[in-house]
Subunit: 427 residues, 2 copies
Amino acid sequence: MNTCISNGFIITADKTCSTMNGCVHVTDDIITYVGAEKDSPAFAAYKTIDVNGGIISPGFVNTHTHIPMNLFRGFANDLALMDWLENAIWPAEERLTGDDVYWGSMLGMAELIAGGVTCFNDMYNFMSDTLRAANETGIRGVIGATIIDFGKSIDERLAEADDLFAQLADNERVNAAIAPHSEYTVSDDSYAKLLKSAEKHNCRIHVHVSETKGEHEGCIERNGITPIARLNSLGVLDLPTMAAHCVWVSDSDMEIMADKNVGVMSCPQSNLKIGSGIARVSKMIDSGITVSCATDGAGSNNNLSMMEEMTLLAMLQKGSNYDPKLIPAKTALQIATINGAKVIGQDDIIGSLEVGKQADIIVLDTTGPRYCPSANLLNHMVYSGNDSDVVLTMVAGEVLYENGEFNRLDINEVMSKADSSAKKLLG
Amino acid sequence: MNTCISNGFIITADKTCSTMNGCVHVTDDIITYVGAEKDSPAFAAYKTIDVNGGIISPGFVNTHTHIPMNLFRGFANDLALMDWLENAIWPAEERLTGDDVYWGSMLGMAELIAGGVTCFNDMYNFMSDTLRAANETGIRGVIGATIIDFGKSIDERLAEADDLFAQLADNERVNAAIAPHSEYTVSDDSYAKLLKSAEKHNCRIHVHVSETKGEHEGCIERNGITPIARLNSLGVLDLPTMAAHCVWVSDSDMEIMADKNVGVMSCPQSNLKIGSGIARVSKMIDSGITVSCATDGAGSNNNLSMMEEMTLLAMLQKGSNYDPKLIPAKTALQIATINGAKVIGQDDIIGSLEVGKQADIIVLDTTGPRYCPSANLLNHMVYSGNDSDVVLTMVAGEVLYENGEFNRLDINEVMSKADSSAKKLLG
């Protein structure tokens, strides 16, 4: 099915993040033209979408999520991390079923899609149920097979991972990663086994790193080295590694990360809300590290808005370094799109509006007061916009969301079922 | 005209910030009932608005704005402060006319009203034109008569202030303040004169204080004391004073501010974006200071969203102090409503939903995915919501905005005129 998205302000998010007025042609699932209307080739579009001067952008890549935790949104706030986990989240999680995870995932994916996120990178349990939701909603994603030395044995966990990879053999939009929870919750022996599994599946590693000061310093106390150094000594960083948070990584950690091409998923809002701190993103970028941004789970955020995250990431670097020139709007936009694609190893197929890439495209309405005056639309998107500006979300050429309507899901059913699950879980 | 706003989740923002399911009765411009439907007295409502379980909250009080600067939204970003001022803002401001200010104010007020702000506290030039816009849009506000030793003489400025106060004699929604720009842009002699004027008009003082490190330390270098200490020595703080920013105030400044009952307008987003830093809001509150929050102008924010500001204020205190318990959701909501009313000296008439107060009320739609699961709506409003949730804004019992429609202004005309002004100013 061929679609022409016309009459827009195009933000490419390519290397130079060029912008232009024009149109985008989509042939089946592929972008076949990006540019001025007058230069566009003849194109037999099945559907033409006139976006009325709106922004045409690549969809956001949300690189660190726990999507089913949408069930826990607002359940407990303003608590210390361990209090929150021990007295609120963990007891509720013990009561979780696959169906709860499915409905929580459906709710989370609806929110992602409505907010212009076309690809997520998840870590949670009941992966098959998250996959079921992804297949139904049509969103692109990477599902992490979680490894943690708690509850099940490492062998059981890796068997689950094998099962997940088997289910994904022919899946065009979803693939998987091996996701050791962190340095402190997975033993050396388990790491050795999961690395073999990751090699077998030729996949990436997804892991929490130095999220809190306590976690970072606890590792140094126990092991004499930082979490990054320990993961490196275990051989983890020899595989392509995606490291979430990295609030407390040291300068020498950054050297290792740059050397080993570790991608970072910064979660600025979650890091503030839980009291973890502010990641040194600008310093990481200067060190040659690819930094993306992410929402974390709705339990600690409390929404899945990438519009908010990219803005906050930029603002925090300016404010905490007393330098307004840091992370200009174009960089923020790239962090939320093409950098995310790089971190998950898919920048050859998604993350920017370039001919030959998958048509993962969003459109933002720019007719409201927050986009006036009409110049500088890219700046408005980053510094003045919010999720409600998103009026169209397309994945692989398929429109999943348009003008408030979901094409693949019944949002009222999803909210009703998720609400019932939440009520049950939260007792 | 009597209105019943029914079937809502009421957030009172009163002393205990109690919440309940119920309805609010509005008789003419006054709140006459807040509580459960079943306990409500007989009421002959001209209009009943069923909000379908939505949130009924007091409108936000945005305590530090430069509303006409909406014309400069996105004009220049990611620049150092003096570069931004000297090469972008000031040259454009030299070309400003009263009509530009009027259309910029109309645009800003439209954005405020659509985002649930029922009262602003402004500081800019061409005050009569901002007043004209306020009278037309129906928003409540305080207009600061700006005093700065630049361009006009102090006597000319104070004559303009007299003129502004004269225009406001019978105005029920708008009043005025005397607004010396800052410690460093107004001489001792000018301060002496403006204090007499403020006493004559029995009004408050609105002033920028210790926004940047350079400003704070420059004052100490020149005068041997901090800006707060200097304002105190000049007698400014003997009048009711509203201090914007206060990012760099010292512990001893806080003692003076608490003693003199100085109200603070914290602008977290602007302070980050310009690279000023993070105000020590929790410490100020612990010191006994009333802290409100505000957007600053759209030139340095880049929007006028109080939903964003209250969230960011809470998040920043948690993150920068490594303590997630700081500024819980209820406190954030109070900072954005009743504390704002206190800072501008109007908490006897606005800022909370209490019988006898002015009916400055907003309604938020809670039927979208960001408000699911359905428990903890107050937390969702603070941590998951955004401006687009606002579906009704009422000032003094009058509905100014409902379901995306403005009752008093033609938003397309406003945007078109503001856009033309911006194009002209920005050359």
